[in-house]
Symmetry: C2
Subunit: 151 residues, 2 copies
DNA sequence: TAAGATGGACAATGTCGTTGTCCATATAGT
DNA sequence: ACTATATGGACAACGACATTGTCCATCTTA
């Protein structure tokens, strides 16, 4: 098929290919409990969404849902919650060493995956592909209220 | 950031941009009840996954889940179930006129969206992008067991 | 200082997936 | 032909995960 149906499907499949490869590798490196969503959440936290309410806003979900996600991540050892001295209502979410490790390894694996693509496609074509996508998508990454969006 | 993190994110965002645009347009054309998943399911049905069990296999979910999805789609008027004369266990899932209409309009909108991208990026760059994605993803479309995969 | 906004937690609910089970019907092996 | 197995569909119980509503403590602002 050379019609418009293929483009979105290929975009989704390409995303899945990368994410699946990432998590296969992460699992082999000691992060087998990490789910696709967790990476995005850890990223969001590392970038400043360090409370349940803030995380909820960033991810586009309710603060209750964000709170539960944080609880899960805490149970897996990726984050801890520490009281905020400046605002005793808040509990600041902090990445543990394990969480930082997961993020660091994710970045490494993504870099490796990108290199693999560059080898297969040619660096120039890949750069062009990325530039095209950049041109057709909103500038701000991380307005990805993925959960539930599909249903 | 010029690191490997951006590529998967842009792929996902590009997918979302297209799907959101599609459903905005579909809603304006009388299909406001249709959710992103429904399009994929209708596609799968039209391509031959015309029973609960077959649909489940195609989508990568249980036959029970597929059955419930069909029920939902039936409630929305997109499909009906007719007994199979050749196999009295089966109930063949058939697209209604309304369902066919949704699919036809989806195809049209996707074509329009692709044309828009071609205008913005240049036809050649878009063809090249699509070809690159084709090269990096499995050949068979529709092994997209999307539901639940992300969690 | 009083009024409103905000952060976090608890509860009830809804949706949607799962597994387990059951039954009717097809299909295959002997 | 007959029996064993596989398959299609439905019902039930359960779990994951989101939602809204409510409540309270605390911060902010008028």
């Amino acid at each position: 098929m050379s019609n418009g149906f293929e483009l979105p499907l290929r975009l989704l499949m390409a995303f899945r290919v990368l994410i699946d490869a990432l998590h296969e590798e992460l699992a082999a490196q000691g992060h087998s409990d990490m789910r696709p969503m967790h990476g995005f959440v850890l990223q969001a936290i590392a970038r400043g969404a360090d409370s349940a309410a803030a995380l909820g806003r960033t991810l586009g979900v309710s603060k209750q849902a964000a709170g539960k996600t944080i609880e899960t991540l805490e149970g897996l050892g990726y984050v801890t919650r520490v009281p905020d001295p400046a605002d005793s209502r808040r509990k600041t979410v902090v990445l543990t060493d394990f969480g930082v490790d997961a993020l660091r390894r994710s970045a490494e694996v993504f870099d490796e995956l990108r290199s693999r693509w560059a080898r297969e496609l040619g660096a120039e074509r890949l750069d062009d592909l990325e530039e095209s996508l950049r041109q057709m998508t909103p500038g701000d990454l991380f307005r990805l209220d993925v959960p539930g969006w599909f249903g």
